[in-house]
């Protein structure tokens, strides 16, 4: 096809983690600039398999930009990003996604003119579904896997009490429902690492609990998570470790309890 689709055919290795301490993602001295503004200023950290890391900091600290540099949406002006030991700094966003690095966005990014159900199926089909060669030449297998994906999508809707809006266009949903669609979309894929940018904004309290539970389950399956979140109780419930950013720099990287007692963090963030 027009773009090499070798990556599409290569089986993606997914090792179930048993807390083996294998580093999945490693950011080294990452720098991102917007014109004169240095939004991320030499940030480094590692994320291990099955580890959930909270990324917190005041507004404008550079958290979203950090996620963007990891996901490939923002170009790193310096430093490097390693995914499973492979340097992906120069890799475009869609190629990183194919390597198992999935993300949500701070502003909701639902496919508005598609139904909730179609949003999930599209995610389930993933990049293989988007391949014209696969659609044309593997029709039999595809139709089987499409059914399987549709079944999973429906189960996902049941799990989040969303079957009643299965046929609603995503643009017709409430803010919280859109968030859920985004997260369900991520869950429909089988990522290695999830980057979540304020996923709980606008989600109803009882669903927040459910979502946290689900994210914990995902984490325990060996999928790593980086979550940017202002709601600290979510961070505490999910993450064994918290990275704090302020003015583009990393100012702390420690377990949650240590973080809340840290003077510098309190000054910068907790007030």
């Amino acid at each position: 096809m027009i773009e090499s689709e070798k990556l599409a055919d290569a089986p993606v290795e997914r090792t179930a983690s048993d807390g083996d301490g294998r580093v999945v993602l490693s950011a080294r001295d990452v720098v991102v600039r917007y014109g004169g503004v240095v939004a991320v200023d030499g940030v480094s950290f590692d994320v291990k398999a099955g580890e959930a890391v909270g990324l917190i900091g005041p507004n404008g600290a550079g958290k979203s930009t950090m996620l963007a540099s990891l996901g490939g949406q923002a170009k790193a002006a310096g430093g490097s990003i390693l995914l499973d030991g492979r340097d992906v700094t120069k890799l475009s966003a869609y190629r990183r996604a194919r390597l198992g690095l999935l993300r949500t966005f701070q502003s909701t990014s639902e496919f508005g003119d598609m139904t909730t159900f179609e949003n999930l199926v599209t995610a389930g089909n993933g990049f293989k579904g988007a391949s014209l060669t696969s659609v044309v030449f593997h029709r039999k297998e595809n139709s089987r896997s499409d059914r399987e994906i549709a079944g999973r999508a429906w189960e996902m809707l049941e799990r989040f009490d969303m079957t009643h809006v299965a046929n609603a266009y995503a643009k017709e949903l409430s803010g919280g429902q859109r968030r859920l669609v985004e997260i369900m979309r991520c869950l429909m894929t089988s990522p290695k690492l999830l980057l979540l940018d304020e996923p709980m904004v606008g989600v109803a309290p009882h669903l927040v609990e459910k979502l946290v539970g689900d994210l914990c389950a995902i984490r325990d399956e060996g999928i790593s998570i980086i979550i940017v979140e202002h709601a600290l109780e979510v961070v505490r419930a999910l993450s064994n470790r918290v990275v704090v950013m302020s003015f583009g720099k990393k100012i702390a990287d420690a377990p949650y309890d240590e973080i809340v007692n840290n003077r510098e963090v309190q000054d910068a963030y907790l007030g």
């Binding site: 949406q73 869609y94 996604a97 003119d113 598609m114 988007a130 659609v135 046929n167």
Partner: protein, 343 residues
């Protein structure tokens, strides 16, 4: 009677060819979100290529015409080459015109490409005989089919309608496939599509090339019917007629674009023939363009989804055909599924 029949069959052929154009634009815009303001040049290259390979050697009959290579390929080769030409041109133009940039800039680039192409082809007589264009293109199998000219008319009507049906099945199949869903995802939220691993650059180019191929085919069918082709037939504004048809009828819906094609380029543009002449010569033609523009605006303001809006792909527990096959459910099976769901 004969004259009427001739007129009606001609309209039917034009209708079928315009429907092909509308399918092409609908796939590109309705599903892929690409505003292809250069559509007409893909139809044009199809027409020129089909003409060039079927004109045959210079017999001196058309003294002012330059003949490309004197080939006179048998049916259906000219049509196949026309289709390929549309695809190749789309590949070339798409690879620079579809770079990741704002949609409105992209549309502007494509419009400019269309204007440049028109200027170049009009001025350069060595290419496709400049502004005089090519004439004397024979009708496919015109000598083999032992039919009166009216009989041939009807055959051509059926032939173009069959091609329409085949192309319809193709674009419909593509648009309900996972590829089609990825296309709509890209249209709705490009960043999110990318973050699911979808290579939007390739996807955009693919839909552009498929649309270009359909456009090339439509051009081939057109030139084999009218027998001549020149820049007068493919001004940039022709693209707007089809776009208007698509918006009025309902982009994103294949029935909608067919209805729009019937309303705009066929009924509306043919209407003046039946009006008593008024004003200075050419006034009616100009007014037509004014009204086309107004129709487009009106449809965007009053009913942006078009007369027939996008069909919602409905699913119910256990029945996913709505999404997987774009199949709507009959009332009966709907009731059955709902009953099963209630249990």
């Amino acid at each position: 009677m004969g004259a009427w029949e001739f007129y009606i069959t001609t309209l039917l052929v034009y209708f079928a060819i315009d429907v092909l154009s509308a399918y092409s634009l609908n796939l590109q815009f309705g599903f892929g979100g690409i505003i292809n303001l250069s559509y007409i040049i893909f139809q044009a290259i199809g027409a020129y290529v089909a003409a060039s390979v079927s004109l045959g050697p210079d017999t001196g009959a058309n003294a002012f015409q330059t003949y490309l290579f004197g080939a006179s390929l048998p049916f259906p080769l000219p049509l196949i080459l026309a289709t390929l030409a549309g695809a190749v041109l789309a590949l070339v133009i798409g690879s620079f015109g579809l770079r990741r940039m704002r949609k409105d800039y992209q549309a502007a680039v494509l419009l400019i490409v269309s204007l440049i192409a028109w200027q170049v082809v009009s001025s350069d007589t060595h290419l496709f005989n400049g502004s005089n264009g090519v004439t004397g293109v024979g009708r496919p199998l015109g000598t083999t089919l032992p039919l009166s000219s009216l009989g041939y008319q009807w055959i051509y009507v059926v032939w173009t309608l069959v091609i329409c049906a085949v192309v319809y099945l193709l674009v419909r199949w593509l648009s309900v496939s996972p590829w089609g869903r990825a296309l709509r995802a890209m249209r709705d939220q490009e960043d999110a599509a990318i973050s699911l691993g979808i290579n939007v650059t390739a996807l955009r180019l693919q839909v552009f090339v498929i649309g270009g191929a359909i456009a090339g085919l439509s051009g081939g069918l057109l030139v084999e019917y009218i027998g001549a082709w020149s820049p007068g037939a493919w001004g940039y504004a022709e693209t707007f007629v089809i776009l208007t048809a698509m918006f009025v009828g309902g982009n994103r819906n294949y029935k909608g674009v067919v209805l729009g094609t019937l309303l705009v380029p066929i009924l509306f543009l043919e209407l003046p023939r039946f009006l008593p002449p008024f004003g200075y010569p050419g006034l009616i033609d100009s007014l037509e363009w004014v009204v086309i523009g107004l129709m487009w605006m009106a449809s965007l303001l009053i009913r942006p989804q078009g007369i027939i809006p996008e069909k919602r792909n409905l699913v119910y527990a256990g029945n996913f055909d709505g999404v997987l096959r774009g199949r709507s459910m009959s009332k009966l099976s709907l009731r059955r599924t709902q009953k099963a769901e209630a249990k």
